[in-house]
Point group: C2
Chain length 373, copies 2
């Protein structure tokens, strides 16, 4: 290691929330309370839909997966999320989805917060699912099929328990070990699950079906014959081009609700349908501008892909929770300058050296600098 | 403050380079050597142009400025930069341009490095300018006009000194205090500058003209009558829609070179010209596929806007320099999971509580959790 910082250098402090810090913050407040309050944050931001400068996410695809940036801003705050999706990562002991994000000040461009978003994304996805289901599922819903028992599944179960009172979970995953893990985690929360032998059995008698599978492929998790009148389908796993979970017949028999239509047409299960397939944006239902569920026999689908606005809300929530809990971690990301035009002056003082020849023939001897400290 | 992390939580470490750390690293290696080596990095990446998945940057404009994300990737590494541009920030004691960036692993999506890029951007912009000028300026160039004496100007001067042997700087800024600051900083490096009373005087007899002004407007820093045959113009400040520095006549009399044509048509000085105005991309000249300067009387322009590939190279350079210097700072950004499907298990252990009523009427009592630690 070399010499420490000089006293000349200062920096703006950007608040920092590590993965461990966020885990501890969630535990301190309680996961269920976090899910409920985050859903309230997301709802309040969706209600002021026009206030946001929105765009589809910017994706970089490779053979192994995708890396995406998801920016969004209102008049005060700019947010973006970095998130990957690599379905084979588990073979390397890595998560399929890893994320972090930033809140910045629109007026000056100063980054205000850098936060982990792997855990936070799991919460915000589940909170958004439960928020949508509260508008769209039949009142009195009790039983939910949970197909796909991976990293998202506990958060989905707890969000639906907390926001809708769901207390009967029917579990299925192609990998029985995943279901075993989910069952044990549900038990640790005092929630009851029933292991089913296939997706069809899980769906039988369910009020709500949540699909949250991870294959980057056109899977058909749900077919038309598994769906009964009055069901609500929370389709979470079909979330990028070429990755779907629902048979088109399920969609054509349903009222379909989306987060941000322009993005869902590309990434959601409705990528299988024609460009004029009718959908309703969630914010319209939240504001009462368009109906949600209209009767007890209608089938409703929330075709969830994850939208930057949810991460904006989640980052706001985490910033406020850190404030409430007195978390003071920070990063020195931006130089603080006495004179903003004197960036050069931020470098530790240097002494000119004239003892080296020019690197390139035909050029003058150059000036080298040695740190004076 | 609340309780510390439990021993249950671990995380992947992402290398972290703070603003102070990067300042110290640059001083340790020497600024001139950093500029030269970074130019070599940028050159080698530009030479493998087709290896990169490129796109124009994603900008969020507001009344006060712009916040941008600049992603790029090859088969191994993904990089992005966050950067703002807020011309009035100096009134608040803040920098016009603040930046940070990330390197990630394409195969798994794991973030490998988070680094400050405010200082680093100043170096990479200057290194790219000097790299272009080495191809385009007349051999034997000695005198450079430097118009705009703000945060970028020292880095431009030193890069041109180091890579081209420029040792006669003619300085002009609308604000004499900026010129005074630059003159003092040049002197501290053993470089000589002459203060000029206007841009015209600075340009008279110059071999190279560098314009690096900051107004977010259609300024006309250079007009046709200030330009003489054989000059090279390094136009750095015209770098977003509505922000230009050169009179169209200067462009129409010149051979114009750009970084990435699709982006420069929108952001560069050539935004003033018709869509078919001929330009050459820098990588084509570096690879010998297209000519640079063809004779001693031609006027050449490098219409620089800053391209994500330069930040990719700069991040690689900083990663390698940190390695070389033994810098070991890191961040806990991503949870490390024993079972990647058990993200829930990353939360500190909780005890179910059944003592709270439901938040919403008609729902069942919910389960609350309290941290057991």
């Amino acid at each position: 290691m070399y010499a420490a910082h000089t006293s000349l250098t200062r920096s703006f402090e950007t608040r920092f929330l590590s993965a461990q810090r966020v885990a501890t913050m969630i535990a301190a407040k309680g996961l269920a309370a976090c899910l409920a309050d985050m859903a309230a944050c997301i709802e309040s931001d969706f209600r002021r839909w026009e206030a946001f400068d929105k765009c589809a996410r910017v994706a970089s695809h490779s053979a192994q997966g995708v890396i995406e940036l998801m920016p969004i801003a209102d008049q005060q705050l700019y947010a973006f999320k970095y998130v990957n999706g690599h379905p084979l990562n588990h073979r390397l002991g890595l998560s399929t989805v890893m994320a972090f994000g930033v809140l910045a000040d629109v007026a000056t461009g100063t980054p205000l917060l850098v936060s982990e978003l792997t855990l936070t994304t799991a919460l915000r996805t589940a909170a958004t699912s439960a928020l949508a289901a509260r508008l769209l599922a039949r009142p009195g819903s009790r039983r939910m099929a949970l197909i796909g028992n991976g990293a998202q599944s506990e958060f989905q179960a707890l969000a639906f328990h907390r926001l809708l009172g769901i207390d009967d979970f029917r579990l299925y995953d192609v990998d029985p070990a995943a279901t075993g893990k989910l069952l044990a985690n549900l038990a640790s929360m005092g929630l009851r699950g029933t292991v089913c032998r296939d997706a069809r059995e899980a769906c039988t008698g369910a009020d709500i079906i949540t699909t949250v599978t991870a294959d980057k492929t056109r899977a058909t998790i749900l077919t038309g014959d598994m769906i009964a009148p009055g069901m609500h389908i929370n389709a979470v796993g079909g979330d990028c081009p070429g990755k779907t979970e629902l048979h088109p017949e399920v969609l054509s028999r349903s009222q379909v609700f989306v987060e941000f239509e322009a993005q869902t047409r590309i990434e959601g299960d409705i990528q299988q349908m024609s460009a004029d397939f009718p959908v309703t944006e969630l914010w319209q239902v939240l504001r009462g501008a368009r109906p949600g569920r209209r009767n007890a026999s209608e089938i409703t689908v929330f075709d969830s892909v994850g939208f930057a606005l949810e991460d904006f809300s989640a980052l706001r929530f985490m910033r406020d929770l850190a404030e409430e809990l007195g978390v003071a971690d920070s990063l020195s990301l931006i130089p603080a300058l006495d004179d903003p035009r004197n960036l050069f002056g931020y470098l530790p003082a240097a002494e000119p050296l004239r003892d080296r020849p020019a690197a390139r023939p035909g050029h003058l001897p150059d000036t080298q600098y040695r740190v004076a400290m």
